[in-house]
Symmetry: C2
């Protein structure tokens, strides 16, 4: 990586390419706060504008340490907070001044709510033409379901991802992390940064409209072409690949491991490591097409061999043979993994009240920007009011 | 949305904020091509540099229409293609000229492969300092696992997502779409667009290094804080929320529906719609904490009521009552959904050989840029060689 390092406008060290970008963040819970966490990791300054007295709903979500939400702390590290009542004239005036210093506004109210407050895209764009206005909602700003409420599980169900996840022949299963929220947050960040890129040439902001359901459709990938071309409605198939075999999570003597064998050469190597070279010449398993057709028999034969040793022992030999493989880690194992640690994917939040809270790091590694190993604390509700009012000349 | 519309440098109509950005795409299969598809949807020009004779491996992935891969066509619509042997002097010279017109290079070889070809970050940056150099790999450019091969299922297993997905008490299950590849592609796009934003001010490119495993860790969200704070290793819990109830996929008379009830008021509304108002006063179900503690009893009581009617009938009444809810759609239902259609999330690829292939649309909706309803065809291998050589002055 390059050792060049950015310098911020005020002479301090820049944290990332979005150094100097001011984000006004009206979002709550996950899709929006996840997006603004990424923007902060990329160098932006994020000012949370929260509801008076209550704040971001996720301040009330467990797990708690004392009165503090570790959930909230993990997604809002390093942001500033001001509590404003956007229906009260004095607070509306403060918000208008904040719009004047902001480059990006992010909101996740139901479509129409910001318009009713007089802070919809058209109004704000007229007064602040350079502002990028980003809205993330369950169903987007247009279309028949637009006014409806949505949560992660609702869009996971409606968008088809749940229908292809689960045991073969079994019930559809929710993805155990909130991919409904998180993919929406990820698409939103791409839209915002692309809009900032254009604005740097034109001076003009644009509106970015991301709906969570749309994002679920966008990640269906081969399920769409399989249905469109073959007319087959894909269902859940457990932990195997639909066309490639053996490409699955298989049982060992003490747990599971994933093998991802996409070629005949890798298959021969796998059989050699497992001590079952005779499988290579078995007419059921000669080509990938054969193996996929007899996937039940194939998995049974491989698991019979795998039962003799532990996951760790097998992985050592499979890795040595260059076969794509890995363990099925639980969260404890993930956070202890030496590679995950070496990649700075486990950070600490420096919060005196919460103690050393571990959180996931930023997976976007950029030359020229050294990664912090510690994130600052998440703000208490309204913690930055005095400093912000002073900055705006309102103190 | 605003009706302002960008104009491209050549006077044609701009397709998005990345109009004028030239992306050189050496990636194969999914994470990289998904990212460059997004860059193209945002307005960039994408030139695929493919292996001679073979091309992107996914040209060989089903489903097929005749000899053509619908899988390949769905992720590579509207890109250009040139086949180059990066070990052959003549082709290396062509590639060097392409670097000269490119703004972004994206590659997904194993770390070190581009260096051995003389096209690693340090070499390329020295000759083309403005180029943004983006690498996506299984484990990233650094750390002990960096040289290892990886596939979607390997990182889903290693990164912990599989360990929290599946039936309660059952086996871990793969997410039925390739979230290992796709989230890496999404983080990569954010890194690339942020790097382009900085470059517009400084003229200097940077390296963007994204590892698929890191991205799986980054989406673990509350599983990390639950483990860190409570010491509980989260496991699969089927289709319900860990703390909120009823927030689950529940059985009806003819299928399933999702209800997402986060407050006591919504719970009372739900019980009224289902005709079981007595549940509100049941001591097991008074507060969310009570309901979460007795979630098995709660689901059983609700499913007993839901069995009386079909999913469609219940959804009509639940929606009318404003209760967050939705169907569990299969892929056929998703693609037929009127809202998904209204949001332009089902596009056609205009490919004479493949016929009308339906693909997922772009979920990033931007003011000023009308959305195409049809995407151009994906390129045949090396289809744009002559035009590119002419453009480079090499014809």
């Amino acid at each position: 990586m390059d050792s060049t390092q950015g310098s911020a406008a005020d002479g301090s060290v820049a944290r990332g390419p979005l150094d100097g970008v001011v984000v006004l963040d009206l979002t709550r819970v996950l899709a929006g706060p996840f997006a603004t966490m990424m923007l902060r990791d990329l160098g932006a300054r994020v000012i949370k504008v929260e509801r008076v007295d209550v704040g971001d709903d996720s301040r009330g979500f467990g797990p708690f340490v004392g009165e503090r939400s570790a959930y909230f702390a993990s997604v809002n590290a390093g942001k500033e907070s001001i509590a404003l009542d956007l229906t009260a004239p004095a607070d509306r005036a403060v918000f208008e001044r904040l719009l004047g210093i902001a480059d990006v506004l992010v909101e996740n109210f139901r479509p129409g709510a910001m318009d009713r407050l007089g802070f919809g895209w058209a109004d704000v764009h007229a007064r602040h033409p350079g502002l990028v206005y980003a809205a993330v909602s369950g169903f987007g700003q247009t279309g028949p379901y637009s006014p409806r409420p949505a949560y992660d599980m609702v869009v996971q169900g409606m968008g088809g991802v749940m229908s292809v996840t689960g045991e073969e022949g079994g019930d559809p299963v929710r993805v155990g992390v909130s991919v409904g929220d998180i993919t929406a947050g990820l698409f939103l960040v791409s839209g915002i940064t692309a809009a900032l890129y254009e604005r740097r040439a034109t001076g003009e902001g644009m509106m970015v409209d991301v709906g969570m359901l749309d994002c679920q459709v966008a990640i269906l990938e081969n399920a769409v072409s399989r249905y469109t071309v073959e007319g087959v409605v894909p269902g859940p198939i457990g932990s195997r690949h639909p066309f490639i075999a053996p490409f699955a999570a298989l049982r060992t003597g003490d747990g599971r491991l994933v093998v991802a064998v996409g070629t005949d050469v890798f298959f021969a190597d796998l059989c050699a490591v497992l001590g079952v070279p005779e499988l290579v010449d078995d007419p059921r398993f000669v080509t990938n097409r054969d193996r996929a057709q007899h996937v039940g028999d194939l998995h049974a034969a491989l698991e019979q061999a795998l039962a003799a040793r532990s996951t760790a022992e097998w992985l050592t030999d499979l890795e040595a043979a260059g076969i794509p493989c890995g363990p099925v880690n639980d969260v404890a194992a993930v956070l202890a993994d030496p590679h995950v640690r070496a990649r700075n994917m486990v950070l600490e939040v420096d919060d005196p009240e919460l103690g050393p809270l571990r959180v996931a790091g930023n997976p976007i590694k950029l030359s020229g920007y050294p990664e912090p190993l510690v994130r600052p604390a998440a703000p208490a509700l309204d913690a930055d009011r005095a400093a912000l009012l002073a900055e705006l000349g309102l103190a």
